[in-house]
Symmetry: C2
Subunit: 471 residues, 2 copies
């Protein structure tokens, strides 16, 4: 389980590292840290991937500083790992070859908010909650919500999405431009602030989802949304997961512009009730949110209610008060921690398949059967409006048989989704743990093309080595 | 004016070409054409860029055939130029180094329509009108509408958009996956059919907008939309172009989800009236379209009406009947040809800047003054909801002074837009004619990165050489 996935390059020599510590300390003083605790915190991952700490952590304050650090590392052939908040689920910030972790959490400037253009320019260390706090008084919000209060830089790096994506898209849809420090230390601005452009290769989207393997993202120009005039939310219980999925499929096909449509299976609902002291009905649930004018929110909810009635006897219940709504979504966001509470001491395994919506019910249903047969505790939550769902097996990693059984389950899950024209990861990214699935999903020629890109932009393989594609 | 922009590689030898004619003819028979008329038709461009015919035209029928052709060309180092319908405005299909034009217009299969997933899989030669014809009975439509009945492959290649983009996005937003023949003849599928994915580098968007310089796009998986329950359109005259732009800015900022909001200046309106036998009021006009339910269309139109009233005394007039609506949009789509009618015999020059919406009124206003001072005939139309507008100078290309004056005007226009954080091309693409503006817009480091990508994927520079970045 804890085997490091094919380290891609030799570790830097101890001499090179101690030289680098001296040079960096000379330049950045106390912002260079080599204590074991801090290094381990930066090799941390929320799942069962083993901690692999970097040799050095540097807290950068500006794009120019990041460029300086990268140039020093490039000169010595030392790996560079960009770090935001460390909420990655796939070992993205692990340092299998050691190296320098550039912590961007001090880069929190909100450089500009262009209210009239519905966009803003921020540094990569700003988290989504910090940004929304800043925007609230202006009547604007940033809609992408992966649950964790991740840094926007990290969200760009993994092409994150989450609960609102069904309405507002993913990170690929909301980034206008990026400032990126390339592996040679050069600083690139990927695009202008125009809402659209055909001026050459799409460098912006080349960097979105590249997980720090092509450069360090330091500044981001983001599209924003006006806070909707009206927001309403509610829950709807279903007799089976399949019935809930069928209702989702019909809702999406009907073109109802739901802002959120989230599935919790009965196991996850039990976990959430325990963790968040709620009393939700312990059957498969859909949590919904509608955005719009008063009239359109009402219309959307009515149309959803009619569809739901075809698949459940239970009523669609409103959470009209803002406090109730917040409590509901907080509970949804805490689903990951709630699930872990079902088996204290066990490790959580992240999965993230996404299939065309027509195959969703079938995919979830087969997966539920597989979970049952495997005898695992594995709650399901999902951004089902996009066909994306997370099974979260809870595993005793000290028991090799259990670990092997879980690995086999994840394998079956991914292959099931790919066979349905889906993907191994809808939003978490590849990191270390999904690398083995890229060839199954993309085929050899596409994977080769990814390697060509990596080699061309980072010929010495210093940028977050051992992630996405192994060279 | 007609100088070829730095041919990037030596032309293939006559011997290599005649060998290739023999080999291709042997394999593809009458689908290999070398007549001057057909070659010239394939080196054609709608603007003043000089015709540069390829040596050979081959009509391909399948992805595998395209792969075979590319492999033959690669073996001989002969350029490959993909061709859709030839509606490019920037010299994209010109063959400055000769070579083989692969005409994809026979690749018209609609491979699958997944109604339940709101997507379809088509071959690259299908045009947008053909696709919409096919989809109509299913209650679906493909929303991207650049005016011309372009092939979808060509629209992917230039990252096209057009009148509906303000609501439905551009080609970068509606493509789920591509099948691409790489410069070595390998066939790559860029992504699955999942609505979102974080599984590695975004090969799909790397290819969108690459204008045939990284490979030949042969199949496309596209997102579709349900035909709206209600559609309404109308026109609104304004006293000045600035007043119209100010109304657009406020409309977009208010979050009204207009489906189309198009500007025609008074010169363009006169041209349209003459060409399409209409009697539109000859002042700056906004043409609008709203999509939604009956109630929401009504609500949108009312809110727009209130905004417009702040900037004009003229009323917002409905075109309620479908025939009226079609006639209006057909007139809009014919704007290019209508404009040419203002100065018979003159050549049309395409421009395509796009700026953040807050700068739109200022940019259009300064440009109008510039046109006036230049003494040119140069109507303006624009997808102003995105900040994108086209000035279309009509130039006597036999008069060097006029040509030089127009070049200088285009230079000022692009620099004005870039200084306002905009782009030299919102939707037409770079082709040959915008290459010189890429460095002004992107800076040297970003342009270098584009060259790194081109070199890595097409090391022998056989794919549509002399476009986007010169190697």
């Amino acid at each position: 389980m804890n085997a490091i996935l094919s380290p891609s390059r030799p570790k830097a020599s101890e001499a090179a590292i101690s030289d680098l510590v001296a040079e960096l300390s000379n330049r950045f003083g106390e912002r260079v840290v080599t204590s074991a605790a801090v290094r381990e915190q930066h090799g941390h991952t929320l799942t069962w991937v083993k901690n692999q700490p970097p040799d050095i952590v540097v807290y950068a304050r500006t794009t120019e500083e990041v460029s300086e650090i990268v140039k020093l590392c490039a000169a010595k052939g030392v790996p560079v790992i960009p770090f935001g908040t460390g909420t990655s689920l796939e070992g993205h910030v692990n340092a299998p070859d050691g190296g320098v972790c550039i912590d961007l959490s001090l880069m929190k400037r909100i450089i500009a908010v262009h209210e009239e253009d519905l966009d803003c320019v921020i540094e990569a260390g700003v988290t989504r909650k910090e940004l929304n706090e800043h925007l609230r008084d202006k009547g604007l919000f940033f809609p992408i919500d992966p649950g964790a209060d991740a840094s926007i830089g990290g969200m760009v790096s993994t092409r994150a999405s989450g609960t609102n994506a069904v309405r507002y898209g993913t990170m690929k849809d909301v980034v206008l431009s990026l400032t990126v420090v390339l592996p040679n230390g050069e600083i690139v601005k990927t695009a202008s602030r125009a809402k659209k452009s055909s001026a050459g290769y799409d460098l912006t989207r080349l960097m979105i989802g590249s997980e720090g393997t092509l450069g360090v993202i330091t500044e981001i120009t983001l599209k924003l949304q006006g806070i909707p005039e009206a927001i309403s939310a509610g829950i709807c219980p279903f007799p089976t997961v399949k019935a809930a999925c069928d209702a989702v499929i019909m809702t999406i096909q009907s073109g109802i512009p739901v802002a959120r449509i989230e599935l919790l299976d009965e196991v996850q609902v039990r976990a959430v009730n325990l963790h968040s002291k709620l009393s939700l009905p312990e059957s498969p649930l859909l949590l919904l949110e509608f955005h719009g004018t008063d009239a359109s929110v009402q219309e959307q909810a009515e149309r959803f209610g009619e569809i739901a009635a075809e698949f459940t006897d239970q009523p669609f219940e409103w959470a009209t008060k803002p406090e109730e709504r917040s409590r509901l979504w907080q509970a949804r966001h805490d689903a990951y921690w709630a699930a872990r509470g079902l088996r204290p001491g066990a490790q959580s395994v992240a999965t993230d398949v996404c299939v065309p919506i027509s195959r969703l019910a079938e995919c979830v249903d087969e997966t539920k059967k597989d979970i049952l047969e495997s005898g695992m505790i594995a709650p399901i939550v999902g951004h089902v409006g996009d066909g994306n769902f997370h099974v979260q097996p809870l595993v005793n990693t000290d028991d090799p048989a259990e670990v092997a059984a879980c690995e086999a389950f994840v394998d079956r899950l991914v292959k099931r989704a790919v066979a349905m024209e889906g993907t191994c990861t809808g939003e978490h990214g590849v990191g270390q743990k999904k690398m083995k699935y890229l060839e199954i999903e993309h085929g050899e020629a596409a994977l080769d093309l990814m390697r060509v890109l990596k080699r061309a932009i980072d010929p010495h393989n210093i940028m977050n080595p051992g992630k996405i594609v192994a060279l």
